[in-house]
C-alpha cells in the first residue's frame, strides 16, 4: 500500500516537473533570473568602485545582500504563487481534470504529488538564487555574509507556505480569483511588515501609536507569515554582523528592528501544513 502511495506521488511529481520543462517555464524563469542577477552584480560592481579602500565594504556588503534578499524573496514568492495558482482550478477549467481524477488514485495523492514536484523545483531555485546573491556579494565586495545556511530553511519555508496557500486557493477558486486573492494577501503582508518596522522605529511617538503599528504587522504576519519570515532572515543575518548590527537593524521598512521570534517559524510550519491539509480535504470532496 505504502509502495503504491510512493509510486503515485512519484508519478505526479514527474508529471509536474515535465510540465514545467515542457511549457518552457524553467527556460523563461532561468533567463530572467539571470537578468536579475546580472543587474545585482552590476550594482555591486559600481558601488565597489566608489567605496573600494574606504572601509565601507562591510556595511555596503550587508546592505546589498539585504537588498538582494528582499528582491529575491519577492521573486521567489511570486513564482511560488504563480506555480500553484492554477494547480487544481486550471485542470478543471481546461477539462483535463476529467481524465486525471477518474483514475484510481486518491485525489489527495494527485494534489500532494503535484505540490512536491513544484516544491522540489522551487527549493532548488531558492538555493541557487540565495547562493548566487551571497557569492556575488563576496566576489564584488569581498564580504562573506555569515549565517546564509541558517536562513536557507527560512527561504524554503516562505516559498512552500506561499505554494501551499496558492494550492488551497486553487481548490477553492477559479485561477483568476485565486491569483488576485493571493497577490492581495501578499501585498497586505508586505505592507503590514513595513508598518511594523515603522512602528518600531517611531520611538518618539506615543506608546499607543507604536503598539498599534506593531500589532498591525503582527496581525498581517498571522494572516500570511511570508514577510515575517523574510524579516526573521534579515534579523538572523544582521545579528552576525558584529559592530554594525544596530545599523543593519535600522534599515527602515526593509529592516528588522521589530524581529519575529522563532515562534513565527513554528507558526509558519503549522500554517503550511494546515493549508495543505485543507487543500487535500476540500479537493477530495469537490464536485468536478
Amino acid at each position: 500500500m505504502r509502495i503504491m502511495w510512493i509510486k503515485t506521488l512519484t508519478v505526479m511529481m514527474k508529471f509536474a516537473l515535465r510540465e514545467v520543462l515542457r511549457k518552457k517555464v524553467l527556460v523563461a524563469g532561468g533567463l530572467l533570473t539571470g537578468v536579475f542577477l546580472f543587474v545585482f552584480v552590476l550594482g555591486l560592481h559600481f558601488i565597489n568602485e566608489q567605496i573600494h579602500g574606504k572601509g565601507f565594504e562591510q556595511i555596503a556588503g550587508f546592505q546589498f545582500f539585504t537588498l538582494g534578499l528582499y528582491a529575491a524573496t519577492f521573486l521567489i514568492v511570486v513564482i511560488a504563487a504563480f506555480a500553484g495558482v492554477s494547480a487544481v482550478s486550471g485542470e478543471i477549467e481546461t477539462g483535463t481534470a476529467y481524465g486525471l481524477l477518474a483514475s484510481p488514485v486518491p485525489r489527495s495523492q494527485i494534489l500532494l504529488g503535484k505540490f512536491l514536484g513544484y516544491a522540489f523545483l522551487l527549493v532548488v531555485y531558492d538555493t541557487v538564487v540565495l547562493l548566487a546573491i551571497w557569492g556575488a556579494t563576496a566576489w564584488q565586495l569581498g564580504v562573506a555574509i555569515p549565517g546564509v545556511i541558517e536562513i536557507l530553511p527560512l527561504l524554503y519555508l516562505e516559498t512552500l507556505t506561499m505554494l501551499a496557500l496558492s494550492f488551497l486557493g486553487s481548490v477553492l477558486f477559479s485561477s483568476l480569483t485565486n491569483g488576485i486573492t493571493i497577490f492581495l494577501l501578499y501585498g497586505v503582508a508586505l505592507l503590514g511588515g513595513m508598518v511594523e518596522q515603522i512602528g518600531a522605529l517611531a520611538r518618539g511617538f506615543s506608546t499607543t501609536t507604536v503598539t498599534a503599528l506593531i500589532n498591525a504587522g503582527i496581525i498581517t504576519s498571522l494572516i500570511l507569515p511570508v514577510d515575517a519570515l523574510y524579516r526573521r532572515s534579515i534579523y538572523l543575518v544582521s545579528s552576525k554582523a558584529g559592530g554594525i548590527t544596530d545599523i543593519l537593524h535600522n534599515l527602515g521598512p526593509f529592516g528588522s528592528l521589530s524581529a519575529p521570534s522563532v515562534w513565527m517559524e513554528v507558526y509558519a510550519v503549522i500554517y503550511l501544513c494546515a493549508c495543505l491539509a485543507a487543500a487535500t480535504y476540500l479537493f477530495s470532496r469537490k464536485d468536478i
Binding site: 515535465r18 477539462g95 476529467y98 481524465g99 481524477l101 477518474a102 483514475s103 485525489r107
Partner: protein, 308 residues
Amino acid sequence: MFALETRNLTKVYPTGGGCFDVSLTVEPGEVFGLLGPNGAGKSTFIKMLVGLLRPTGGEGRLLGLPVRLPAARRQVGYLPENFRYHDWMTARELLEFHSALHGLDYRDIRRRLPKVLAMVNLLGAEGRLARTFSKGMQQRLGLAVALLPGPRLLFLDEPTSALDPIGRKEIRETILELRGQGVAVFLNSHLLTEVEQVCGRVAVINKGRIRTQGSLEKLLGAGLEMEMHIGGATEELMERLAKLGRVFRATQEGDIQKVWVRVSNREQAPLLAEAVVNCGGRLHLFSQARNTLEELFVELVTGEDHVD
C-alpha cells in the same frame, strides 16, 4: 458479480437538478446504452460512477466495490465527453502517464501500448504531441487512454461525437470486440442508431430519472410494423398479407394502396414483399414503420418538458 450496479443512486445539485434514484445493473461482457436528451442527467450519472461527483444518496458498485473507493476504478476505463488531455505531452507520454496512475508497471505498459494503439488506429502517431492531433485523432487517443489499463468495465460518454462515419464504424467495431473479450461497456449516447447497433440493453433517462430500461427486444416489442405502398393491389394480395400479419391500417391514394402490417418478428418482413410480388403487385415503398428506438425515445421524452 455485476460489472456495474446502482441502487437509487442520486445526485442533487444545489440548483435542484441532477440525477435521481437511478437503479440499474450491467453484466460483464454486456454493452449497455444510456439514452437521454441533452441535460437529462446522463453525464451526471457517469461522473458519479467514475468519482468526479459525490453522490448525495443511494449506492453504486463498480466490479463489486463501492464507487466512493478510488480502488473501485482500478479496472475501469473512462472516455469523458468533451475530454481534453494535457496537450503538451506526446501520445505515448499521455498513455504511459495514465497507465501509471492505474498502477501498471512499465513492462505492462510497453506490452500493451502497440496493441491499444493499433486498436484505435494511432500506431505510428505515438511520438506526436497531443496538441497536433485532429479532433478525431484526439477522440481516439482518449479511447486509447481508457483502454490501456485493460479495463473490465468501460464508460464511454458520447464516444463518437467528434468522429466521421468511418471513425464511428471503427469505434462500433472496437466496442463489439471488447464485448467479445468480456468487457462490460456502458455507452452514453444520444445517437440512437449507434446504440441500437451495439447495445443489448438500454435505459432511457429524462429529467434525471430513468423512464424505462430493458433489452431492446423487450422495449421495442417482439413485433415489427411495416409500411408498404403497393401498385396493382388485389383482394387476393390483401388476404395473403392479412395471413402473414395484422393489417391495421390501409388507405388508397390514386393507384397506390398504402398498407401498414404488423408481423410477429423480423424474419416475416421479407415474406410480405414476396407476397406482393407473387400476387403481381408493384412495391413502391417497403419500410419499417414503427418501433425503432427513436420512436420509443421520442414517445418517452415528449410530453415531458425538456430540461434543456
